[in-house]
């Protein structure tokens, strides 16, 4: 039943998704498509979950079946090391790189080719860090809870400081786990108040190294409530897990990825087409509808369930502060939550 409500809640079910091949101009000129199909293959490096990106590849192949996409997936930091090393040895196999840490990608900008998607003007300027990098993936933070264990579900971020959720009912991903979590804790301090962490930590919080085990623990009932990236819990909810997720009215911190095409790409046309498709309305709609992503487009082609655009606003970190505040605030967070780094 929940599944039906969710599906009906999704606004404007991917209209462009059903369009025939005539709409291909959305993805670039015919010359590009022909050249991409002639190349016939590309290699995709991603720091996102492998399964999620497999679905993206499958959807791309429904539209462009003649282009085989091979994927290499590694956790964020390890992927960067690999890219740097392969590039230095002249053996970078990637045609497209998809990475969540915009700061790290920015350091590699010289390695990447100039690229602009056909619908560049549709994207929020604050989600872009460099003209070569585009947010093919955008993730957003929600509050998830186990429906079997929580009687009075939280409705706002501030609710997560209430006494009724004390004694390890709340699970958190540790601050230093990466750029996505840093975005959330930056939002908490800047928007919810300087003492938000202190109030929440006082409840007794269960800490997890990353989002995946947190979502798993939530479904299993190890914790009852957890701030999570929506895509980690969304597919579980759709499959019928005893969980629900809400977007809080104080704001939804979003994490725009930085995706680009390396200069050394052996299939630059296929790479461009793949990027164009992922950044298109069709690609973004697919990721919102099927994977639980958010989008960095100014006018979202569709909205996730329970997302009222009049009430809910996305929150994008100011990039300079994102870089400059990190070490100091992370240190404060570790101390407040008693996390040993």
């Amino acid at each position: 039943m929940k599944r039906r409500t969710m599906m009906t809640g999704i606004a404007g079910a991917a209209a462009s998704w059903a369009l025939p091949a005539a709409a291909q101009s959305e993805f670039g000129p015919k010359d590009l498509v022909d050249a991409a199909e002639k190349e016939g293959a590309l290699t995709y490096y991603t720091a996102n979950f492998a399964e999620t990106e497999q679905e993206v590849i499958k959807a791309f192949n429904k539209r462009f079946p003649k282009i085989k996409v091979s994927m290499v997936r590694a956790p964020g930091g390890q992927l960067i090391t690999r890219i740097k090393t392969e590039a230095a040895a002249g053996k970078l196999a990637a045609d497209v790189v998809n990475h969540s840490d915009r700061g790290l990608m920015l350091e590699l900008q010289d390695m990447f080719a100039d690229y602009t998607p056909p619908n560049a003007a549709d994207y929020r300027p604050d989600a872009l860090v460099h003209p070569k990098f585009w947010p093919g993936v955008t993730l957003g933070w929600c509050i998830a809870y186990n429906t079997q264990l929580v009687k009075n579900a939280p409705k706002t971020w501030m609710d997560l400081t209430k006494d009724e959720y004390k004694n390890k009912q709340i699970g958190q991903v540790v601050g230093p786990s990466g750029g996505t979590t840093w975005t959330r804790i930056m939002f908490e301090r800047q928007v919810l108040g300087e003492d938000y962490w202190k109030k929440q930590a006082a409840l007794g919080i269960t800490l997890y190294p990353s989002g995946a085990p947190t979502s798993d623990s939530l479904v299993r009932g190890e914790v009852s409530i957890a701030p999570l990236l929506y895509n980690i819990i969304y597919t579980k909810i759709v499959e019928g897990a005893p969980a629900e997720a809400i977007f809080a009215p104080e704001g939804v911190p979003i994490v725009p990825y930085a995706d680009g095409i390396p200069k050394t790409s052996k299939s630059p046309n296929a790479a461009k087409l793949f990027m164009n498709w992922r950044l298109s309305k069709e690609g973004q709609s697919f990721q919102i509808e099927k994977l639980g992503n958010i989008t960095s487009m100014k006018e979202p082609p569709m909205l996730p369930k329970g997302w009222d655009p009049k009430v809910i606003k996305v929150w994008v970190p100011e990039f300079k502060q994102f870089e400059s505040l990190r070490d100091k605030w992370m240190d404060d967070w570790n101390k407040t939550y008693g996390y040993r780094q």
Binding site: T43, F49, A50, E51, T52, Q54, S70, M71, V72, R73, A74, P75, G76, G77, Q78, I80, T81, R82, K84, T85, E86, A87, A88, A89, K91, A93, D101, G103, L104, N146, Q148, P176, S177, G178, G179, T206, L207, Y208, P209, S210, G211, A212, P213, S215, D216, S217, V219, R220, G221, E222, I232, K236, E239, G240, A241, P242, G338, Y339, R340, Q341
Partner: protein, 587 residues
């Protein structure tokens, strides 16, 4: 006996003699060059990383900026010291338990008339094939204080006691359970190859069965016990999956979880991780040195030129007691985690409202298996893993035999250096050595990078110590008199190896190659940096499922992996048994 001198030899034989004299240094030199490429060169990269801020491939050796900051940071960080202490406690406790269990089992299987020994032997090896991550997940499903299946059962039974595997005790127990097979492999093979006449002598002299066990049997297989102890301790030190799944919820950090954090964070701190790894190597080096010091100057040869069969102690009615103990162990180590994994693999979600919910048939199905096999990477990864495993087992087996024989059976100059260099990789955690291999080998000519061969090469290098140690115990037990008899009969060195040493060491060789295959199939750390889209392996895919928060798919895929390994184990066990019988006959 005729004494032949070089002076008395005809010219052609003299040339042959001097050529033979050249063979030894050439052989040692060849092995050292190979080990330099496989071990020292990547190690150099690691030291380079630990002592500087640069990446040797990107910045080149020319930009080497020596700095001890990583070491000083690591040593000054109280959390590193705590992680180090936790690691020593967890691995020390785990090793003690593993030695107790492993030794007990090998004794039951090899030296007593406990019923169904073949079955016990096979089943007790199962934990070895379970990836640490899966073991951790299985025991978190069973022993979580809030939602663990064991606690749900206790609650249903009205018992107040609750298990808590999210604790140091939980870590020690799971380490002990899962690494007992390492000790078992070494000690069972040693017990099987041991001449029982010494034990018989002890008993004839009036010693009881247990006195004999502790004063004759165990001391005689001391090299195997020590090798198993050392290996299991060091392997535990390098395990990430178990402390990640069981330690993290209790905020218990160990060195590997700390190193993983350093390598996975943005930006990754490989140079600091390399510094931690070098500290870990230092600890291991001390342990290896201690082991060699304890064993040096003692003879453990018990396989001599006399036919024997391993003696079987008649336990009388007590054999059912030992059988019962074996069943309890198997239940804890094999049945319970398998039940947990099976439930996880077939159940849509792992939420249990109460005990009755466990039996809700609507919650079960093949959804996770369907999803796993729907993924095109699954079959590719299985096929690649089998190929890499087989190549690693064969190449690694040959190399380990060459190293083991040279070190334990010859007196050639340079054998100590070979022994030392081949022991080094054991001390380096996989996640760190992975990046060292990448740094070291990415520039290799011939398009090796991006193929499964580079993975096999990394596994051979990484697991040389495990394989050599497993083989060396077999070598140490073959008495020199057998080879000398062959030489006196006019056989050459190679012929002696082929007809005497190899057949006698075959159980050990097969066991080592099996171990190598299993380790290669499970290896994640070095795979993560060297796999490409065409050469992806099962361990990488398993991490993807785990990192994606898919306990169901993780469990389903690990059951698939366990079945594949189980079938292969069955085959090798059968081969090993055949060869053991063959060896006993030829001995």
């Amino acid at each position: 006996m005729t004494v032949t001198t070089a002076a008395g030899l005809p010219a052609t034989r003299e040339r042959a003699f001097s050529a033979r004299r050249l063979i030894a240094p050439l052989w040692v030199g060849g092995l050292l060059i190979l080990l330099t490429f496989l071990v020292l060169y990547p190690l150099l990269m690691l030291v380079f990383g630990a002592l500087s801020d640069s990446n040797p491939v990107i910045d080149g050796f020319g930009k080497f900026r020596p700095a001890l900051t990583h070491f000083s940071q690591v040593l000054a960080n109280e959390n590193v010291r705590l992680a180090f202490f936790n690691a020593l406690v967890a691995c020390g406790g785990g090793t003690a338990l593993a030695v107790f269990i492993g030794l007990f089992f090998s004794w039951i299987v090899v030296r007593t008339n406990t019923p169904f020994r073949g079955f016990i032997a096979g089943a007790s090896m199962i934990p070895l094939f379970v990836p640490p991550l899966v073991a951790g997940v299985a025991w978190s499903i069973l022993g979580s204080p809030k939602t663990g299946l064991l606690n749900i059962v206790l609650k249903w039974m009205g018992i107040d006691f609750r298990f808590d595997f999210y604790s140091m005790t939980g870590l020690i127990l799971v380490f002990g359970f899962y690494y007992a097979p390492y000790v078992y492999m070494f000690t069972a093979s040693a017990l099987r190859n041991m001449d029982p006449s010494l034990e018989e002598a002890a008993e004839v002299s009036g010693a009881s069965a247990f006195t004999t066990l502790f004063t004759v049997t165990f001391p005689l297989i001391a090299p195997a016990i020590l090798a198993g102890t050392l290996l299991s301790f060091v392997v535990m030190l390098g395990i990430y999956g178990v402390p990640a799944a069981l330690g993290a919820p209790a905020n218990i950090s160990v060195l590997t979880t700390y190193i993983f954090k350093l390598t996975a964070w943005s930006p990754p701190l490989y140079n600091t991780a390399a510094a931690v790894a070098i500290l870990l190597m230092f600890v291991t080096a001390i342990l290896v040195w201690a082991q060699q010091r304890i064993l040096s100057g003692k003879s453990f040869a018990t396989v001599a030129g006399k036919a024997f069969r391993p003696r079987s102690l008649n336990l009388g009615p007590w054999r059912w007691f030992t059988f019962g103990l074996a069943l309890v162990y198997l239940f804890i180590v094999v049945i319970l985690p398998t039940i947990a994994l099976t439930i996880a693999a077939f159940r849509r979600f792992l939420f249990f409202k109460d005990f009755d919910a466990v039996f809700d048939s609507k919650a079960y199905g093949l959804m996770h298996f369907n999803a796993v096999f729907d993924n095109p990477l699954t079959m590719l990864s299985i096929w690649n893993t089998l190929k890499v495993g087989a190549i690693t087992a064969v190449l690694g087996g040959i190399l380990a035999f060459a190293i083991g024989y040279t070190v334990t059976r010859t007196n050639v100059k340079g054998r100590r250096a070979i022994d030392l260099v081949s022991t080094i990789p054991i001390a380096i955690p996989g996640l760190v050595i992975g990046v060292a291999y990448l740094w070291a080998w990415i520039g290799l000519p011939g398009g090796l990078y991006g193929t499964i061969w580079i993975l096999a090469l990394a596994f051979v290098a990484r697991f040389i110590p495990d394989t050599v140690k497993a083989l060396s115990t077999s070598f140490m037990q073959i008495h020199k008199e057998l080879e000398e008899a062959a030489w006196i009969s006019g056989r050459g060195m190679l012929s002696t190896i082929a007809t005497i040493v190899l057949p006698l060491a075959r159980p050990g060789v097969v066991a080592s190659m099996t171990l190598l295959f299993v380790l290669a199939v499970r290896e994640l750390g070095s795979s993560l940096f060297l796999y490409t889209s065409d050469s992806t392996v099962m361990a990488v895919l398993l991490l993807d499922y785990y990192e994606g928060g898919n306990t169901g798919k993780t469990a389903a895929f690990s059951l698939v992996q366990t079945v594949i390994l189980g079938v292969l184990l069955g085959i090798t066990n059968w081969l090993s048994r055949g060869s053991a019988q063959g060896a006993a006959r030829s001995g």
